[in-house]
């Protein structure tokens, strides 16, 4: 276990103490932060480890939210609906991945971006199942009060973050991670040494979607109401990438820190610049890319920098 992985686990452990200090609003922010950290860490498996510029995060977030939401709305308990959302997302992603991951660079980016659109419209038109454009109402779990509810969903999301982080670390230490790293560095050579790149990429895509989808499932239960344009929002794809870029591509610690730093910045900007916050966000992105292209962690974990070249 490397030092940065230990730091990450320690960081996640510290976050668990949040309910002791913050009120409901702090817990909401904490839940959102955990959620985005899950998205960013999951994206990192495909984008950071395997070097494929995926914009499909929002597609699988929405898919998971809808699988979870539909099941919850039909009375399934959260503990069953979320794993099913995760597994469903995994299967859909792995199958699609086998076809999409043959594309490289720009073409892959666009195809993965288009997935959002396709999924949204499919959900939109499956009115009988999903409510279509009318959105989907998810019944409140027996409300035990503001704080109890907030704490429950915070810990639900936090646990998923922990599992995701452990998954990402396990992957990066495993044969799978080793293979993905080979693919990022040189896919031709990876094929040449007998690595089934299609299989590995599909698994990576599926794994990444699995945790994103699970997060979507928890999210659906948390907000009680989802509609297609909310959950299939391209920002769910872009923000994790920006977070990973802020933190430094590849390292799980960097990506997680990037997520927290980004959300902190966003909260500040959002509070202080109502009218122009998205512009300010744009300026931050542009400045970041111009002046800190390797992210905050670039000093600490220089090895990961090279990942950018093949990304």
């Amino acid at each position: 276990m490397s030092r940065s992985n230990l730091i990450l686990l320690a960081l996640i452990a510290c976050i668990a103490a949040l309910p002791m200090f913050g009120g409901a609003y702090a817990l909401r922010l904490g839940t959102i932060a955990c959620m985005y950290a899950i998205l960013a860490l999951s994206w990192n498996v495909v984008g950071g480890l395997a070097g494929y510029p995926s914009f499909a995060t929002a597609a699988f977030f929405g898919l998971g939210a809808y699988i979870g939401g539909v099941l919850l709305a039909r009375g399934m308990p959260l503990a069953a609906a979320v794993p099913i959302a995760g597994i469903g997302s995994f299967l859909v992603a792995a199958l699609l991945g086998a076809a999409l991951l043959r594309l490289r660079g720009h073409y892959f980016a666009i195809a993965s971006l288009s997935l959002i659109e396709v999924f949204r419209e499919v959900v939109n038109n499956a009115t009988d199942l999903t409510g279509g454009g009318m959105g989907l109402n998810i019944p409140l779990s027996a409300s035990a009060g503001v704080m109890a509810d907030a704490t429950f969903f915070f810990y639900a999301m936090w646990s998923l973050l922990l599992v995701t982080a452990v998954m990402v670390m396990a992957v990066s230490l495993s044969k799978l991670g080793f293979g993905l790293s080979c693919i990022r560095q040189n896919e031709t050579a990876a094929n040449m040494v007998g690595l089934n790149t299609t299989l590995y990429k599909s698994i990576a895509f599926g794994l990444s979607a699995c945790f994103v989808g699970s997060a979507g499932g928890i999210y659906a239960a948390w907000v009680h109401y989802i509609d297609p344009s909310d959950v299939f929002d391209i920002l769910y794809s872009v923000k994790p990438i920006v977070m990973a870029l802020i933190g430094g591509l590849g390292s799980p610690l960097g990506v997680t820190v990037g997520a927290f730093v980004y959300l902190g910045l966003e909260e500040v900007v959002w509070r202080n610049y109502i009218q122009i916050h998205s512009g300010v966000l744009g300026i931050i992105i542009v400045l970041l890319l111009l002046f800190l292209p390797h992210g905050l962690m670039s000093v600490g974990s220089w090895r990961w920098r090279r990942g950018m070249k093949n990304a």
């Binding site: 080793f178 790293s181 080979c182 094929n191 040449m192 040494v193 007998g194 090279r306």
Partner: protein, 249 residues
């Protein structure tokens, strides 16, 4: 000798360019074959077609009794078909050890990363890179990267090994060292097909020479016979040289 590889009328076309025309060729177990020809003759394309990097547009490739014409690269690699690249293709961020370990790991299903690293050490030692095991591949010298490429290919326990210009860009001492390695591999019973520009290496190592020119196979036989074949001399060194060789010869 039993055959290990058979090409039947293999062709490859890139748009308007016919890179390989109707190549038929048999490689027997234990042979060391030199594949030569001027730049652009189609040698590397041939290797790419056999290894599945670029699919053939016509004909068939049979390896060890199995039709591998449409088999994916990673499958043929696991079948025992391995190669080095003319332009070395290391995993640049990996250490030399992990480069070789990757080859050992993925060529055999069920191999563990730990076991693969162990095995990789042996192959690194064989090519004389044990001292560089922990060094990042991108920082190795060209000669070292060429040897790394060889160690990678060996880690896959190949039945048939393609060497694509392993000596290009090396100095004479390095070439001698590489030649010695190839000799040793041949002695270990690995079938080798090598693309090589240095004729002294070809003549030193190979039992048979195959010549490509403009995508066609123009000669195939014993080194002596091939080297005095006027068609080869003309293709390889130019018409005038062929004439002069005729005058002198």
């Amino acid at each position: 000798m039993p055959e290990i590889l058979r090409l039947q009328s293999v062709s490859r076309r890139f748009g308007g360019l016919q890179a390989l025309r109707d190549i038929s060729l048999t490689v027997n177990k234990g042979e060391v074959i030199g594949l030569i020809g001027p730049n652009g003759a189609g040698k590397t394309t041939l290797v790419n077609v056999v290894t599945g990097v670029t699919p053939a547009t016509g004909g068939a490739v049979v390896f060890d009794g199995e039709d591998i014409t449409k088999v994916k690269t990673y499958r043929s690699a696991r079948l025992g078909l391995s190669r080095t690249f003319q332009i070395v293709q290391p995993f640049a961020e990996f250490s030399a050890l992990d480069n070789v370990a990757a080859a050992a790991l993925f060529s055999k299903p069920g191999e563990s990363l730990k076991a693969a690293r162990e095995e990789a050490r042996r192959h690194l030692a064989f090519v004389g890179l044990e001292a560089q095991a922990a060094q990042e591949a991108a920082t190795l010298t060209l000669a070292m990267r060429k040897r790394l490429e060889l160690a990678k290919a060996l880690a896959m326990r190949p039945k048939l090994l393609f060497l694509d210009e392993v000596n290009a860009g090396l100095n004479s001492a390095e070439v001698e060292r590489a030649t010695a390695l190839i000799h040793q591999l041949a002695a270990d019973g690995i079938t080798i097909v090598m693309i090589e520009h240095l004729m002294k290496v070809v003549l030193n190592v190979c039992s048979r020479i195959v010549v490509l020119h403009n995508g066609r196979l123009i000669a195939d036989g014993q080194p002596r016979d091939v080297m005095t074949n006027p068609a080869v001399i003309e293709a390889y060194l130019g018409q005038q040289y062929a004439q002069r060789a005729g005058v002198h010869g």
